[in-house]
């Protein structure tokens, strides 16, 4: 997978890293057991502080996406580890709520919202083939 980091973006660099790794997992570009570069190596390639990459990796480890393998270093975890749980659904609900409510306040049609979500799902799963 190719990581594309915008150093001048308002989105913090560590969350850009997190988002793109999760996207690659969702798309199937990263599979269980795939090795990720070491913190030092990735930080050097992107040209950012070690802490930035460390923060991203730690967040992904806490969410179950990544795991430290004693031999291989940081690898993609098995699917069970990051499968959707009730706690996750609750968190997702509250995050979505904010976005959906704002769109209602701004008068966005609900069909548009549905369409957007469907397109995101299609684009992501399309990468599977």
């Amino acid at each position: 997978m190719i990581l594309s980091i915008d150093l001048n973006s308002e989105t913090p660099i560590y969350s850009q890293i997190c988002n793109q790794i999760i996207k690659a997992i969702a798309k199937g570009q990263l599979k269980e057991g795939d090795e990720l570069p070491s913190v030092r190596s990735l930080a050097s390639d992107v040209g950012v502080n070690l802490h930035t990459v460390n923060k991203a990796y730690n967040a992904l480890k806490a969410d179950g996406f990544l795991i430290v393998n004693r031999r291989k270093g940081v690898v993609v975890n098995n699917k069970e580890a990051y499968q959707s749980t009730e706690a996750y659904e609750t968190a997702l609900h509250s995050q979505l709520e904010i976005l959906v409510i704002e769109s209602i306040a701004r008068g966005l049609e609900s069909s548009k919202l549905d369409e957007m979500i469907t397109r995101i799902i299609e684009e992501t799963k399309g990468g599977l083939s």
Binding site: S4, I5, D6, L7, A24, E35, S41, D45, V46, G47
Partner: protein, 352 residues
Amino acid sequence: MNTILYMFIHLIMLVSFIIVPRISRQDIEFGVTIPSSAKSDPAVLAIRKRFYLLACIVGVVVIGFQILIKGPETTFMLILMTSLVAYVLVYMIAYNQMKDLKKKAEWTISDQKVHVDMMFRKRKLTVSSKWYLSYFFIVLITIGTAVYSFNGLPENIVIQMNAASGEMQLMEKGKALVFLICMQIFVMGLMIFVQHIIKQAKQSLNAENIEASIRSNVNFRYITSVIIFFLGLAIGITMYMSLLFSMGIIKNVSVVVITTFVLTFMPTFVLIVYSVKLGQDGSRLMDVKSDQIQVDDDIYWKFGMFYYNSNDPSVFVGKRVGLGWTVNFARWQSWAMLGILVVIIVATFYFV
């Protein structure tokens, strides 16, 4: 004989300097980032032409001087140093002209995104570490030969020889053998360290064509790695041969001199040919033409040559002027390595 050797060295200096603009990356001219399409811009070409002209003038003057003066080695070294300063000045003129041109040209900068291949270090960047076993065997054979033949050796043996004059420098045999073997281990260790650099150096992908950029980058690193491996092998064998010469097994001096010359110059020559063909980081393998500057990091490159970026944890980065890799001077490791290098050079002079 000496004059011919000196001429040859001056000529190599001139040629290695003249190929600088040719081997530099598609988006860099004299250490200044430009859009890749601007490489054929008339204003850029004019700067390049002036650079060629000035470099050739320096080269001709230097070689002419060498012919006229014909002094000893110290004179030659003095001329060489002066020519180096003159070449750096020629480069600085081109660098400053490029910088002025960039200020006027109003080239736009694209989105400044950094692209990183997450599987980069898993690709075949360097030779397999099994290859290093051959280094180990050469050292082993050298030590074995030295130990086996120690008693039969004369008290003082040759450790250094001037190829041109045939002058020899002698040293007490025990000290000389330890010195020789240490040198051999050091050179091979150094070559393995270079392989490490080739693998770990920061990847800099061209955003215009990421896939092609990865391919050419990997290709360039692997070819360099293979050549560096053979260079290490050649130096190791050369050192073993000088041991055989000291022992009297090889009696003809010219055999040692010629094999040393061929063995070490061959990989260097191949490296130069490949670099001219591939360009720095394999950039000539790519066909990119963008009207925008991809990533403008000129502020971190002092004089377009020295990288100083305290935000970047990389120690080794691709060069902007010339071939291969350089260090990030904002990292303590870089200064530590420079320190070690100075210590080794001083120690060698002291020891010999």
